[in-house]
């Protein structure tokens, strides 16, 4: 293992350890309630970036995968009483399968056509859920989550730590993809698909792998959501706001590296949470839209790229 990888894993372990200790320091459960959303978006942005950032395939269907994870987890828990870790695992596997299916149907088209096709996935899945009475149909379903274990002071703190572990695993997975042959192949695909293919890169198989990994992370991000809200309905589970944030956060943070989506999600989701409490929940979307326009126009490489360029100038 390289020195950088060892440092990264130590960093992740420290963050997770601090997350587990936080409930004993911060007593107000609201911080954990808001922190859950921030970590959820760290996971979503990280998952989206595996396909959208590394391979350059802009996926508007993040909400479809997230919603699939939400509903599968809610169904497995309420029907079979499956423990939360198994619900998360099942959602990840289902997300991966959904990703491969979506990939097979859409990966031969590129650019805006691919984006529109992925948007269709959200509409299709939402319509299916609307028509399944076992999932509560349009009116939704109540989910009374498991009792938090004794080491956790309450449900908000427990949900927060669960989401922290999911986010940490997702970020570690994204970094592994980035520095491995998978990431190099995906970046080659992003630069020139023909040149990548003629260099020996199995582009279709690699893109399907990216779809599967991205889908797994996005669905896993949705798995604990029913226990966080105690109620799920199609409109919120498949909300286009999730899809918008999934794209905006990596673009704002930077899509080239695992750090970009994390940075973008931490900044944007935190500001959204603060704006929700202090100004208005509706203004969130306006804020996201304005920031996204500003970054696309003035810093298309995102915060990580701006920071990198400044460091480069300082060195020279």
């Amino acid at each position: 293992m390289s020195r950088n990888s060892a440092l990264f894993l130590i960093g992740v372990a420290v963050v997770v350890a601090l997350g587990f200790l936080m409930p004993w320091v911060l007593k107000n459960p609201f911080y954990f309630f808001a922190g859950y959303v921030v970590l959820q978006y760290v996971t979503i942005a990280t998952g989206w970036n595996i396909l959208g950032g590394y391979a350059g395939y802009i996926n508007f269907g993040a909400a479809g995968f997230f919603g699939a994870g939400v509903y599968l987890s809610a169904f497995l828990f309420t029907t079979f009483g499956l423990p939360l870790p198994l619900c998360i695992l099942a959602a990840a596997v289902f997300g991966a399968i959904l990703g491969v299916l979506m990939g097979y149907l859409t990966l031969r088209i590129q650019g805006v056509y691919f984006a529109i096709a992925t948007l269709g996935l959200v509409v299709v899945l939402e319509t299916i859920v609307h028509n399944i009475s076992a999932l509560g149909g349009a009116s939704g379903m109540a989910v009374y989550g498991p009792r938090p274990p004794s080491w956790s002071p309450g449900p908000s703190q427990y949900n927060f730590t669960v989401m922290l572990v999911i986010a940490a695993v997702s970020v570690a997975l994204a970094r592994f993809v980035e520095i491995s042959w998978i990431g190099r192949g995906l970046r080659a695909v992003r630069a020139s698909e023909d040149a990548a293919e003629c260099s020996g890169v199995p582009t279709l198989r690699l893109k399907l792998l990216a779809c599967a990994l991205s889908g797994a992370v996005l669905a896993a991000a949705g798995a604990p959501y029913p226990f966080y809200t105690s109620f799920v309905e199609p409109v919120t589970a498949f909300s286009l706001i999730i899809g918008l944030n999934a794209i905006a956060m990596p673009l704002i943070g930077g899509t080239k590296s695992w750090a970009g989506p994390v940075l973008g999600a931490l900044l944007l989701a935190s500001v959204q949470q603060i704006a929700t409490v202090t100004i208005s929940s509706e203004l969130n979307i306006l804020f996201v839209g304005l920031v996204l326009i500003a970054f696309v126009a003035f810093a298309p490489g995102g915060i990580a790229d701006l920071f990198g360029r400044r460091q480069g100038r300082a060195r020279s």
Binding site: A195, E197, C198, S199, V201, L204
Partner: protein, 237 residues
Amino acid sequence: MSDIVLSMKGVEKVFGAFRALGPVDLDLRAGERLGIIGPNGSGKTTLINCITGVYRPDKGSVHFEGRDISHIEAHRRARLGISRSFQIPRPFTGMTVLENLLVPLDYCHVDGSREERARSVLSSVGLAGRVSDPSESLSQLELRKLELARALVGNPKVLIADEAMAGLSEEEIDEVLAILLALNRSGVAVIMIEHIMHAVMRFSERIVCFETGRLIASGTSTEIAENPLVQKVYFGE
């Protein structure tokens, strides 16, 4: 003939009502230097795309080392040993020069250390000083060299250089020619598609000329220069 490495029989490619190529019969011997000339739109790049697998031929077959590869994907053909550079350089942007060469090494089997192999190839094309630079920062000549280096790094048996000298000065053309000749001396068959006639004449043992998707002439550089069909294509009646 047993030394034929690449063989095309009746290869045709049609786009809608437009026949871009064929039918074409063409063989390449192991270690041969073959030049392909012809005006724009004569089907040269379509032929290359059919050989490398970017396009599947509508009719006919492509054999490599006796194996029918007409229906296998481009990445498998690259792994078998058919490599190419592109008419317009296509560097893997967002990567360093070294990383550009690590991509084929990740997927094509090469003995020994991958990084050492990449550095050695970069050194052989004169890019040793640019190893850690982003590929976006390279000049036109350096981009051409990077294209060639990326095509060479996987130890190909056939290299197809698609207008590798377009837009270069005379000295730069000599540099690229020297790289291709050195590669050929190591046993690699090279197909050179080129509009720069003196370069293709100097380089090629055999030249074939295409017009409107058909092979109209084949011979040595002297035979091609004196061929009335080739003269008609380039100079008119």
